[in-house]
């Protein structure tokens, strides 16, 4: 059994009578020590999946179907207090924008110590020592002084290091990183990503890496999930998918990457944009933007089916081979 097993997860929002489905049947496994990438354009439902795992979907949204099993326990039916104990301790999360993630009125140290004290019986002195040590591990200069700093006194890169230190504080089994470097200066993105990957690797922490950037996923993960409009459209081993995408959307994402060997060449962006939940096209949600689309595509939603060693949801997957 895998460490984390997500099955047929659905999240819906009750909006003025209508029920909008932000997730429509997402399933995946995460093994201990593994790295899973989730890619897709804005609005694909990547963050929704992350919040759902921690049971942090807020009103008017809710998990309407499916199950999340972690370490043999079903998380989505746990009593609130039991679920709270899992958060931060067993499964930690890193958010996109470190400028917004840390509370502006509390010191870095206070935001670390509170986490330790909530989950462990620990003295003030020990909590401080442990926090400072974690700050040192994420390579923050003069960690003792930074412990007493307020977030606004730190640069964006340092803040994200603090957030990573907080995520690692209690040695969680899983870290979910939701676009951990998107908001950072381009010059330090690789550095922070590298730091996070290293720390997870050396501590054997499993990682779910959520990103827009299929290149990052291809370089860092073993398995990946491509999401579109709340569904998984392709899923499997990262290497295989990157080498030979079976879904036109995955292929589109790959073709949109800047070519290393052809600098200055025009980028091939996928035409159009992700539909909103209220205006999902009938059939395959991607068909209005797809070069392979025909009548079957608007006629029925393609099931996620096995194709070789991977799963793909496309009527014409074979034609891409």
């Amino acid at each position: 059994m895998a460490l984390l097993e997500v099955r047929d997860l659905e999240v819906e929002f009750a909006m003025r009578g209508a029920r909008l489905k932000a997730l429509r049947g997402v399933s995946f496994d995460l093994d201990a020590g593994d790295r899973l990438g989730i890619v897709g354009e804005s609005g694909a439902g990547k963050s929704m999946a992350a919040y759902a795992i921690l049971n942090l979907i807020s009103e008017p949204g809710r998990i309407s179907a499916g199950s999340i099993a972690f370490d043999g326990r079903v998380l989505n039916t746990l009593p609130a207090e039991e679920m709270r104990k899992v958060r931060g301790d067993r499964i930690a999360m890193i958010f996109q924008d470190p400028m917004m993630t840390l509370n502006p009125v509390l010191t870095v140290g206070a935001q670390m110590v509170e986490c330790l004290k909530t989950h462990r019986t620990i003295s003030d002195g020990e909590a401080r020592a442990l926090s400072v040590q974690k700050l040192r591990e994420v390579a923050i200069p003069s960690p003792d002084a930074r412990f007493d700093s307020y977030p606004h006194e730190l640069s964006g890169g340092l803040r994200q290091r603090v957030v990573i230190a907080i995520a690692l504080l209690l040695d969680p089994a899983v870290i979910i990183a939701d676009e951990p470097t998107t908001a950072l200066d381009v010059t330090i993105q690789a550095e922070i990503m590298g730091l996070m990957l290293d720390l997870c690797e050396t501590r054997g922490v499993s990682l779910i890496l959520i990103t827009h950037d299929i290149a990052v996923v291809s370089e860092t993960t073993q398995r990946m999930l491509v999401m579109y409009a709340g569904r998984v459209v392709e899923q499997g081993e990262t290497r295989g998918i990157i080498a030979r995408p079976s879904h036109p959307y995955t292929r589109g994402l790959l073709q949109a990457l800047p070519q290393r060997n052809k600098p200055g060449a025009e980028l091939n962006q996928i035409p159009g944009s992700m539909p909103t939940l209220a205006e999902l096209p009938p059939g395959c949600a991607f068909h209005p933007r797809c070069a392979y689309a025909d009548d079957t595509c608007s006629g029925g939603v393609p099931a996620l089916r096995t194709l070789g060693k991977r799963l793909v949801a496309c009527h014409h997957a074979e034609r891409l081979k």
Partner: protein
């Protein structure tokens, strides 16, 4: 060092505002009848009047007179009340404790009611109680204070006979201060006026706190706090509430200042022997020095509250606080 500079700058601003208020107050003098008529009878001849004017400096240029007024004011001399024949400052300060205690009681009610009510409405927006509070607050905003005051007198004093309807009740003298807080009778008299006065600001504060709280609950740092597995109580009171109360302190502090203006109405309806009541009487009697003294003292209170609010805000908000200085 920088905190000191900030302090000096802020106090400098306060002094500027006071200068403007005093200028306005002083200009009123010329427009409210002839001071001589109040001092000497009709029988005094025109020549004698002119001599008296010269002696009192009333023929001096405006700014010379203003400078003299300012010089006296700084030394605590705001003129002599025509009616009471006593220094205006003394007459007003005698009434200050009554008004202060009324505003203090109203502020307490506002804080004690609006903070829990606002938080409750923000975190349980669909709860029937929250809807009721929000509904009442819309009604509350649109009812003028004197109606609330008169209605509460009618209901609680006349119909039910639970509360005294006017005055301040028994007070205890403590040096130059006098307080109604120390006697049962004094407290009983305080209830209705304090509630009437607080009712003006209560809906505003509940809505303000609710709005801010809802905003803060949607922020990433609250989500991050939840994702850290903190107790909901801690997320609410440590992470959300402090950030909610920051803007509330600024807006709220200014509003509490304006409560003083509303005491004129409340004190009059309840015949509360405070500065507001005194002011209305002074207006009726065209007691110019007293009117001016009131304006200047209320202006001063307003400026002082605002400055204090600013300093508190700076203290609790580390982003405003000058970096490098630890509190």
């Amino acid at each position: 060092m920088e905190t000191l500079a900030f302090l000096i700058r802020r106090v400098g601003q306060a002094v500027m505002v006071m200068l403007i208020i005093s200028l306005i107050g002083f200009s009123i003098q010329d427009n409210l009848g002839d001071p001589l008529r109040e001092l000497v009878g009709q029988s005094v001849s025109e020549a004698e009047r002119e001599a008296l004017r010269d002696r009192m400096g009333l023929n001096d240029p405006f700014f010379v007179q203003y400078a003299r007024f300012l010089g006296n004011a700084v030394q605590g001399d705001l003129g002599t009340s025509y009616f009471f024949k006593k220094p205006a400052l003394e007459v007003i300060l005698r009434k200050f404790p009554a008004t202060f205690e009324l505003v203090l009681a109203a502020t307490l009610i506002i804080v004690l009611v609006s903070v829990p009510a606002g938080i409750f409405c923000a975190i349980k927006p669909k709860h029937i109680g929250a809807r009721l509070i929000m509904g009442l607050s819309i009604v509350g905003i649109s009812i003028p204070v004197f109606l609330t005051a008169i209605f509460s007198i009618y209901l609680f004093s006349i119909e039910l006979g639970w509360m005294p309807s006017f005055g301040r009740g028994d007070v205890v003298e403590l040096g130059w201060w006098n307080t109604g807080f120390l006697t049962g009778d004094g407290l009983e008299h305080l209830v209705l006026p304090a509630f009437a006065l607080s009712s003006i600001m209560l809906p505003l504060f509940i809505r303000l706190i609710r709005g801010e709280m809802m905003e803060v609950m949607r922020t990433e740092y609250v989500r991050f706090a939840q994702a850290k597995g903190l107790h909901p109580r801690r997320v609410l009171f440590v992470h959300a509430l402090r950030n909610t109360l920051l803007p509330v302190i600024t807006v709220g502090g200014v509003q509490i200042g304006t409560l003083i203006a509303y005491t004129i109405l409340t004190e009059t309806v309840f015949q509360w022997p405070g500065m507001g009541f005194l002011f209305l009487e002074a207006v009726n009697r065209v007691d110019t020095p007293l009117i001016i003294a009131y304006i200047i003292i209320v202006g001063l209170i307003f400026v002082i509250t605002n400055t204090i609010v600013d300093l508190i805000y700076t203290y609790v908000n580390p982003m405003v606080r000058i970096s490098g200085v630890k509190g």
